[in-house]
């Protein structure tokens, strides 16, 4: 009887080990494939791959413009989403009365779940139309429109996760601060928010991750032209991002163009990977600081 049970235990153990091994293998396979497929592009161009020249007729595929576009659009999105998202997160967790919170929180979580194409569609039809006359532009499609759409898309993520992080701060701490005669705002500023900083950073990084990795919404509004605007900070110009260029050109790409698109994928992978490692390190550092000697 006992033997049978330990055998069963071993079988189950092996089964789970295999499942884990398979999923890890798949991840490594994807990474390997990504890097090996992009290698020819890096070999061809070296560091000059970060220059801005993408031309089908001349068969030059350097990804600088896409990288620039991703950076600009992400920065723009974060300028919109971080302050707004954190303030709403603070409002939700610390200030909103109970009945407002019970309505608002699910609504915001619903917003995070809306498929990205819907945001892109709204951006391409409504937003772009308003931008053009409002800023007196030739066309509303631009890096700025991309920033706005991505900012709006990142908002619910930042709000929801920062709200969770702030809510997780023990009530003890808030009460201790209030009992010392601190006002509600002083308590939020000096106790609640700093205590939640690891979670809040995670919220920001996840919002950023969504902005960097987002494809459909952004490809509908940025114009998809592989160029760095002149001057570069002219965000009302069209541009392209690492994701949108892959989505648009992978279908009919051949040869070096394919490799360059994979290079875009590698760069994306590195950016997003760095973000998640950073958020983990940040979290560890904060935890170390607060817990134990």
């Amino acid at each position: 009887m006992l033997l049978k049970r330990t055998v069963k235990e071993d079988v189950i153990k092996f089964f789970f080990f295999m499942l884990a091994a398979v999923s890890i293998f798949i991840v490594f396979f994807v990474i390997y494939f990504l890097f090996s497929e992009s290698l020819p592009a890096f070999q061809e161009y070296g560091f000059s791959i970060f220059e801005s020249e993408w031309s089908v007729p001349r068969e030059v595929y350097k990804i600088g413009a896409a990288l620039f576009g991703t950076a600009i659009v992400t920065i723009g999105a974060m300028i919109i989403a971080i302050p707004l998202g954190l303030l709403v997160g603070i409002f939700l967790s610390e200030i909103a009365p109970f009945h407002i919170r019970t309505i608002l929180k699910p609504v915001i979580e619903l917003l995070a779940g809306i498929p990205s194409i819907v945001y892109g569609f709204l951006g391409a039809t409504l937003l772009v139309q308003y931008l053009q006359p409002s800023f007196d532009l030739l066309k509303g499609i631009s890096l700025f429109a991309g920033s706005l759409v991505l900012g709006i898309m990142a908002l619910p993520i930042i709000i929801s996760i920062s709200d969770d992080a702030l809510k997780a701060v023990p009530r003890d701490l808030k009460e201790a601060s209030l009992a010392l005669g601190a006002t509600k705002w002083e308590t939020i500023k000096k106790i609640t928010f700093p205590s939640a900083i690891s979670g809040v950073s995670a919220a920001i990084i996840m919002g950023m991750g969504r902005a960097v990795g987002e494809t459909m919404a952004v490809s509908l509004v940025v114009g998809n032209i592989m160029q760095i605007p002149v001057p570069p900070f002219d965000i009302f110009e069209s541009g392209s991002t690492l994701t949108s260029i892959i989505a648009l050109e992978m279908g009919e790409a051949t040869g070096i163009q394919t490799y360059s698109l994979f290079a875009c994928g590698v760069i994306l992978f590195i950016i997003v990977g760095t973000m998640s490692v950073t958020s983990n390190l940040l979290k560890e550092r904060v935890e170390k600081k607060y817990k134990g000697g």
């Binding site: 009365p97 003890d172 009460e175 201790a176 010392l180 601190a182 000096k190 600081k289």
Partner: protein, 255 residues
């Protein structure tokens, strides 16, 4: 207990409801200056609730309704436009579970003075040192002021919290079962500390430990089901209770 007693705070006809449940019923109780008043009673009798009315900590609880008065300096702290921040500056609180801020030992004490406008490093240093000394924890922490308060033992953390409560120079210190999470040695230290503190402060302590009430307090209030059953000098309450309910409780027949 022969010293002249004067009134520091007075609870008058206090009713409190959490939503529809009445947690305090017409409570009347004096708090005497430079004395330790213990509030005892079985779990759920409203003793912590009553304590938290004294610095209006119940304000932050949704659906909490209060009627009646608490007089402090002849003013009802529950009247309209009463400055709650000012009240909490004068009525400090120590909680059941030690709750130091996840900051350095120094910052834990300097937090409140800084909020209340003391900016100079030298003044802050002085306050921090004095409070830690007053709470008998200076010797244990003076060489590691910059390390996290979370690294201290439970008993040390609680004394740090008492030091933190002293940093606002309150008139009254409220203690909500301050020893319930501590071992007997740490408990003894805090009880000794209370006896010292009461020379300069008024102390109100909630405890479910009757021996503790008997050991440290000057006055004892016994509460049951939201009502204040009996209030008197501690000796009288424990040796000659007037109410049957009190007697039953202190002789351990229920609770």
């Amino acid at each position: 207990m022969s010293k002249k007693t004067s009134l520091e705070m007075e609870v008058k006809d206090l009713d409190l409801w959490y939503d529809t449940k009445q947690a305090l019923k017409k409570v009347n109780m004096p708090v005497y200056k430079n004395k330790i008043t213990a509030i005892i009673g079985p779990s759920g009798c409203g003793k912590s609730t009553l304590l938290r009315c004294m610095n209006r900590m119940n304000d932050i609880i949704d659906k909490c309704r209060i009627e009646g008065e608490i007089l402090f300096d002849d003013k009802n702290v529950y009247r309209k436009n009463y400055d709650v921040v000012e009240l909490r500056k004068r009525v400090g609180m120590v909680f059941q579970k030690p709750n130091p801020f996840p900051k350095s030992i120094y910052e834990n004490i300097a937090y409140a003075p800084r909020i209340h406008g003391i900016k100079k490093k030298k003044s802050l240093d002085g306050i921090v040192q004095q409070c830690l000394k007053d709470a008998f924890i200076w010797e244990e922490v003076h060489d590691r002021m910059e390390s996290s308060a979370m690294g201290l033992s439970g008993g040390q953390q609680q004394r740090l919290c008492i030091a933190r409560a002293l940093s606002i120079e309150p008139d009254i210190i409220l203690m909500d079962e301050p020893c319930s999470a501590l071992d007997p040695i740490a408990t003894a230290k805090i009880e000794d500390l209370m006896r010292v503190l009461v020379k300069d402060y008024t102390v109100v302590i909630v405890t479910h430990n009757m021996q503790q009430a008997a050991r440290v307090s000057d006055y004892t209030a016994y509460m049951y089901l939201g009502e204040l059953i009996e209030f008197g000098e501690t000796e009288q309450i424990f040796e000659n209770p007037q109410e049957e309910l009190t007697e039953k409780y202190i002789t351990g027949r229920f609770g």
